[in-house]
């Protein structure tokens, strides 16, 4: 022990070993030369490719003896899918000008019945190719009209999105629902959670964002000639607020004609005059040895003039290790039009979920989990109440 201490004491008297390096390091590097590790080819620069695997099985058990929509007794549903997502950003020497996102899956379904994370599969028994995200973003589209001085202050305010993506209603736009069992309200509220649209998005200021889109109202298929069309708008708190105080939220409004959905007990190929206003909040904070997230989505409006009221409340807990989590959700969708002909006044469920994360990257870029979910249907407008137990394997990498 003595020897090293003596050596260290001697070294105290040495000259500063970094003196010459400080002098040379103050010389600047060329800021115009290409980045040393960057590539410029199409599949190299700002290119992202993700793979996705999913397998789940659900057991439906009826609480009552019969159902007009389901066979009596217990029923198994299975779903497997393999897919991918491509993201590519496009840049000039001084500006990132756009981004492309394409996501699709080959899906296999057997003995389908509607579960919270798969309500569109009614007509897709067996193998089916599904597209999910398909959109192009163009950033700062007003730039060609602006002077150099104004370009800086306008950055981030006027971006164009064209394609298929989440409806600008509720928390969906700012939520990563890749493969999750628990879903937000839109799929049950409108019959689908994504639509084809074109419109503007961006920041109002550092704390508030906006979205304003014209949508075809057609859901899965891009059918501009079917006669529908909706306007959707949303004002939301930015991610800066989320990071500062853990709060997200917004107000949304949507109006127009959308294609009917069997999910909402509507007849096929009908046009539904749709109006909705909604408010949502999500709060994330430290709790015990992890984080707790409380979410709510509320909306009110009408379908063909009859009132609709939706409520969703959710609590998520994620352990600090990010190795396991649990969640609970209460969801209720009340539609006057169906309720007058059906059994109950609403579709209401309570769902519990447990997750074991094999991988759970902080940025959701690498996910691998096994989930167990149990949904207890408390009230059904059509059909009998049941319990759905789902086991899911998911990998995104």
């Amino acid at each position: 022990m003595v020897e090293p201490l003596c050596a260290l004491a001697q070294s105290d008297n040495l000259e500063d070993p970094f003196l010459d390096l400080r002098e040379t390091s103050s010389s600047s590097v060329s800021t115009n030369s290409p980045l040393p590790l960057a590539t410029t080819d199409l599949f190299g620069e700002n290119f992202t490719f993700k793979r996705e695997l999913l397998a789940q099985t659900s057991l439906y058990g009826t609480a009552q003896s019969s159902s007009p929509h389901l066979n009596e007794g217990n029923r198994w549903y299975t779903k497997e899918s393999i897919g991918g997502e491509v993201q590519k950003k496009f840049s000039t020497t001084t500006r990132t000008v756009g981004a492309l996102d394409i996501q699709g899956r080959f899906v296999r379904r057997d003995n389908f019945f509607a579960v919270t994370n798969d309500s569109e599969g009614m007509d897709r028994e067996g193998w089916f190719f599904e597209y999910h995200n398909l959109y192009l973003d163009l950033y700062d589209i007003a730039n060609p009209l602006l002077s150099e001085d104004l370009k800086g202050s306008a950055t981030g305010h006027f971006n164009l999105r064209v394609g298929r993506y989440y409806l600008p209603f509720g928390l969906n736009l700012q939520s990563d629902t890749h493969g999750t069992l628990l879903q937000l309200s839109n799929e049950r509220n409108f019959g689908y959670e994504r639509d084809w649209y074109a419109g503007l998005f961006g920041s109002v200021n550092r704390s508030v964002n906006y979205d304003l889109y014209y949508m075809l109202g057609s859901g899965y298929e891009p059918s501009p000639r079917f006669g529908g069309g909706m306007i959707g708008s949303r004002l939301s708190l930015s991610n800066s607020v989320k990071n500062d105080i853990g709060l997200e939220g917004g107000v949304s409004a949507l109006q127009g004609k959308r294609r009917s959905s069997p999910m909402l007990y509507e007849s096929e190929y009908d046009l539904i005059d749709t109006k909705r206003v909604g408010a949502d909040l999500r709060y994330n904070h430290l709790f015990l040895d992890g984080t707790l997230t409380e979410s709510t989505e509320l909306s009110q409006g009408s379908d063909d003039g009859t009132s609709v009221l939706t409520q969703l409340y959710q609590v998520d807990y994620l352990h600090r290790s990010r190795a396991w989590g649990s969640a609970a959700q209460y969801r209720s969708f009340a539609g006057e039009r169906v309720a007058t002909h059906g059994r109950g006044n609403s579709d209401t469920s309570i769902i519990g979920e447990l997750t074991w994360f094999i991988r759970n990257d902080i940025e959701s870029t690498n996910l691998h989990w096994i989930k167990l979910g149990i949904e207890r249907q408390l009230e059904q407008m059509v059909g009998s109440r049941g319990t759905i137990t789902t086991l899911q394997y998911y990998r995104y990498w």
């Binding site: 390096l21 040393p36 620069e45 490719f49 190719f129 981030g156 990257d361 902080i362 990498w397």
Partner: protein
Amino acid sequence: MKFIFIALLTLSLWIPRTLVAAVGCTLSSPAEDLKYLYPEMTSFKEQLFNFETLKEGKLLFEKAKERIGSDLDPVYETFETPYTLYQVFSGEKLLGLVHGVNVPGQGGVIQVFLSLDPTTGAIQNFFFQRLQSPVASELKKKEFRDQFKGVTLGDFYAHDFYKSKSKPDPKDSLAKIHSPSTSETGTKDFEASVRGIRKNLVLIDQFFFGNKFEPFYLRAQQSLKQAK
């Protein structure tokens, strides 16, 4: 239309593993955040980096680990973790670099962002984008964060040598910076934050500067050996 999707997906499933990348550690509201940091900004450019896709990525990753000076967390700091470097411009002039990293803290994630002078590599601003910590308010204070202004990666490497000396060295700019919290959790999150700054600087040195500060690392290692 369906044919195009199927063709694209099939093609993409055959894309070699070396092209796999992901978007990560991005600014929450890039345009607004960068305008706040650089009010004279007219445009910005994003550049994604991922060790998985870089030539000799494994070697670079190992080198980064050595220069960070501690083991990497298997959840927050994996080989596959992607990074986004923002270059901020005023016209054609590069004003600054902004880059963020995640490090594990006592309450969860600590996301450390730095803005750097692109010519000298010195810190212009240091801020937390996400900070899940019981002492978040103390670590976020401007007076604490401002102490890192002007610090370079060279200072971190030199600190490795200075701290081995029996007396504090006045040239050791990092020795003067202390935890704003005296609690055990606060001290640990302070240390995690400083480690995050160092990790961030190491990565920017690789991604942008082409290892400009490598001579400091080699000199520090050499001097430590000589001192022993």
